[in-house]
């Protein structure tokens, strides 16, 4: 950390190059890609919400290729067991005929994990992933097994098919750094997708980062960015505006919100804002950076009350009102 300018430039270049690689495979999802990368460099997990077929798996796979990290995909189903995710102890016999337990790692031990349709698994299985996401290790048979570093979970859920699903509990939702909505591509984007996927030429993904250590260095750069107290006040103000019982609450929150965002939301705001500041070529965070991260960082942390659900109020609308204040 001798020269901040050099490191900031490295970070910016790395970020841009990864983004460029992702754009080779994902068409018309620039904002989504940027947000996924922000969460990745901030060390957070991402919940992707979108209908099937929009390239979520492709996104995660491409990201893993670009940053040269291991990738695993878990398709969540109702009969999926926790051991299917975290792994299990197997009885193995060595050459001498001696039997012993050996831990067989599950897919969660990859650096980047795609938890596809996470809401289809039972809460028991979901909670197994919950521990891995927060604690960065899994415990099997009383033994804790640390996960790889970096570790990123990208979970997806389908907003349309709600039958036979187990909605994620609030505690688990709070573990996600961002909740991103995957929008349907536009007509021109669809043309581009068709052109790229129906020909013999497949885009080649270059490895931007060579090893995880480089990744850790860039993450460290992010945390060095200073935030003035007056600017940080903006994050606090936004968070309190979603709490119906505080004086800072916006009218919509007072009427339709049961619980506001958690302190993890404010952490996510600041971390994301630091990355946005670096991407903007600044060494300090501005309030605009915080505002930019607000929707993705807070939308899944606000719990609507019954009236809010009945009225069809979205958390995005509440955040927009808080931002407009």
């Amino acid at each position: 950390m001798n020269d901040p300018k050099v490191h900031a430039t490295q970070f910016r270049d790395g970020f841009r190059r990864i983004h460029t690689e992702l754009e080779k495979m994902m068409v018309g999802q620039g904002t989504l890609l940027e947000s996924v990368l922000v969460a990745f460099f901030a060390g957070g997990h991402v919940l992707l919400e979108g209908v099937p077929g929009l390239g979520k798996t492709m996104l995660v796979r491409t990201l893993a290729d670009a940053v040269n990290l291991s990738f695993a995909r878990i398709q969540f189903t109702p009969d999926l067991m926790p051991a299917d995710i975290i792994g299990t102890n197997l009885i193995v016999e060595d050459e001498t005929g001696r039997k012993s337990f050996r831990f067989q790692r599950g897919p969660v031990f990859a650096n980047i994990v795609l938890a596809d349709e996470i809401n289809r698994a039972t809460p028991k299985t979901q909670s197994a992933l919950l521990e891995a996401m927060q604690e960065r290790h899994v415990t099997v048979g009383g033994t804790a097994h640390p996960l790889g570093e970096p570790f990123l979970v990208l979970a997806t859920q389908n907003p349309l098919e709600m039958e036979g699903t187990y909605p994620l509990p609030e505690a688990q939702l709070d573990r996600f750094f961002f909740k991103l909505k995957v929008e349907f591509p536009s007509a021109s984007d669809l043309h581009t997708i068709l052109d790229r996927t129906t020909t013999s030429e497949q885009p080649q993904i270059s490895r931007v980062l060579q090893d995880p250590a480089e990744m850790r260095l860039l993450r460290e750069v992010v945390r060095q960015v200073p935030v003035a107290r007056e600017v940080q006040q903006r994050a606090v103000q936004l968070l309190l505006a979603t709490h119906p019982d505080t004086e800072a609450a916006v009218p919509l929150a007072k009427r339709f919100v049961r619980y506001g965002g958690s302190p993890r939301g404010a952490q996510a705001l600041i971390l994301a804002a630091k990355i946005y500041a670096l991407l903007d070529g600044r060494f300090h965070v501005a309030q605009a950076d915080i505002d930019k991260a607000a929707t993705a960082a807070l939308r899944h942390r606000i719990i609507l009350n019954f009236e809010g659900e009945a009225e069809g109020v979205t958390t995005d609308r509440i955040i927009a009102e808080a931002l407009a204040r």
Partner: protein, 524 residues
């Protein structure tokens, strides 16, 4: 070594100074609007309630000065802190919170490499910009609203000025209107004072004071031409009444009454002597004889008392009592009808005394003569005739005028209208031109015609009312100027008609009023 926050402070202070200036202008304009509104209300009250000029430079200076002072105080009180000014600067200049961050990081002693880099980058940005550009100081939009109260105030001022000018002109006209009358009254007061000094008469002295006071009041009351004319008429009428009251002497029993009483007294022997003395006009002797007869306890005296009472009763039935006899009858009624002879003796004694005083007064005839001269002069003024007082020289313009007050009623001791106007009614029966061509005196049918009138008595006394007379200059043959007279009639006829129709005039009297107005109506 300069402070790391110096580049920020420089720009932030500029921003704060301009914020204070802008706040001052905003508050000042709003307070000035309030002040102008208040000034407008105050000016309107002064203009329409008190008739004064609505405002002056002092009032306006106080209003706007107070607004400026309050604005300075409020602007300084609301002066933003450096942090708030930095936030405002960041917001306006879209500087991505560089000033807030620079101020915050610059104040910390320990700074990491990234913080130092951030401070340097923010400082470079601060030095490259000019805060003045983002803080223009201009009058707020509400300043345009000042046009409304200022325009209203200007209009109010103009209106008040025009009104004051009109009143001044009217007052001048009023003063000019009453000036001849007031001057004349002052000269009369001077004459009365001289006469009072010569004759040592306190009544004349008091009259002089009243004349002088009347002249002073007249000048004060003359706010315009019309009011001046009315005030002059009122003053002259009051003074005329005062003079007439001074001329009055207590009325004694008339010779006819005395004669009737003497005839009754002569019928009894006890009062024969008194009757003879009364017949011969020796009132003192008659009084003494009656005193003696009343003291006698004789049947003849009692009979004489009875006859005397009957004679008084008879005179009362004929309504021929004089003031003296009326007073005597009142006393008799209080005493139950007794002592008529004694009371008659007292009355005769009083009359005898008055005769003596009258002779004495005749020995000093100056007072009555002075009063008569004063009365004549006042009536001349009132009727507009150029008369000359004993001291007035011929050709004095103050002696008369083109407009004068005239009493159309019967004047005491006169009974004739102005001289030299044969076409006008004199008040004597048969002098009117009664053509009888219209149903009303004014040539039209009156409202409420045919309704039954109430039987009520008229109030007031003949000749006490006021009227206006305009002397129309005419040709040298002293004939009436028909055109001017017709204009005058047309102007005054509605007022007269309203007065006549509104007054509860008995039907019998209405005929005479109608005949009078018909008589003075100019021929068409």
């Amino acid at each position: 070594m300069s402070s790391p926050i110096e580049p920020f402070l420089r720009q932030i202070r500029v921003a704060r100074r301009r914020l204070v200036w802008q706040a001052f202008l905003n508050v000042w304009v709003r307070l000035a609007l309030l002040g102008a509104g208040g000034l407008l209300a105050w000016g309107a009250a002064r203009r329409f309630l008190h008739g004064e000029l609505p405002w002056d430079l002092r009032d306006a200076g106080i209003a706007f000065g107070a607004a400026a002072f309050a604005a300075v105080c409020l602007a300084l009180l609301r002066r933003p802190a450096l942090g708030a000014a930095a936030a405002e600067l960041d917001r306006r200049a879209d500087s991505r919170d560089r000033f807030v961050t620079g101020l915050s990081i610059g104040r910390t002693s320990e700074r990491g490499p990234f913080a130092a880099a951030a401070l340097g980058e923010c400082a470079a940005f601060a030095e490259s910009m000019d805060a003045v550009r983002w803080f223009p100081v201009r009058l707020p939009r509400e300043a345009l609203w000042m046009i409304a109260p200022l325009l209203s105030l200007a209009l109010l001022q103009w209106d008040a000025g025009a009104e004051a000018e009109r009143r001044g002109a009217a007052k001048e006209a009023g003063q000019a209107e009453v000036a001849p009358t007031a001057d004349r009254l002052e000269r009369l007061a001077e004459e009365a004072r001289e006469k009072a000094g010569q004759q040592e008469d306190p009544a004349l002295k008091a009259l002089a004071e009243k004349l002088r006071q009347a002249a002073s009041d007249l000048r004060a009351e003359a706010t315009d031409r019309e009011e001046g004319a009315k005030a002059a008429l009122r003053a002259l009428s009051r003074l005329e009444q005062v003079l007439q009251d001074l001329q009055k002497t207590p009325s004694a029993a008339s010779p006819e009454e005395l004669k009737a009483l003497a005839q009754q007294l002569a019928k009894e022997p006890a009062t024969k002597e008194a009757a003879e003395a009364l017949e011969q006009g020796r009132l003192g002797d008659a009084a003494q004889a009656l005193e003696q007869a009343s003291k006698k306890d004789a049947p003849s005296a009692a009979e004489a008392e009875k006859r005397l009472q009957e004679a008084l009763q008879h005179l009362a039935e004929q309504r021929q009592h004089s003031q003296a006899l009326e007073q005597m009858m009142d006393e008799l009624r209080k005493d139950g009808g007794k002592g008529a002879m004694q009371k008659l003796a007292q009355m005769l004694q009083q009359m005898n005394g008055q005769t003596g005083q009258g002779a004495k007064a005749q020995g000093r005839p100056g007072r009555q003569a002075t009063l008569q001269e004063m009365l004549a002069a006042l009536q001349s003024l009132k009727y507009g005739q150029p008369s000359q007082s004993p001291q007035q020289k011929p050709g004095d313009p103050s002696g008369g005028g083109s407009v004068a007050m005239e009493d159309f009623g019967k004047r005491p001791g006169q009974g004739q209208g102005p001289q030299g106007d044969a076409g006008r009614p004199t008040g004597q029966p048969g002098s009117e031109r009664d053509t009888g061509t219209t149903p009303t005196p004014f040539g039209e049918r009156p409202e409420g015609e045919g309704e039954k009138g109430a039987d009520i008595a008229l109030k007031g006394r003949l000749g006490e009312g006021e009227s206006l007379s305009v002397y129309a200059p005419a040709a040298g043959d002293q004939s009436k100027a028909q055109r001017r007279y017709r204009e005058l009639y047309d102007a005054l006829a509605p007022e007269a008609r309203e007065a006549v129709l509104q007054e509860a005039v008995p039907l019998g009297s209405r005929f005479f009023i109608q005949r009078y107005f018909e008589a003075i109506r100019p021929p068409r």
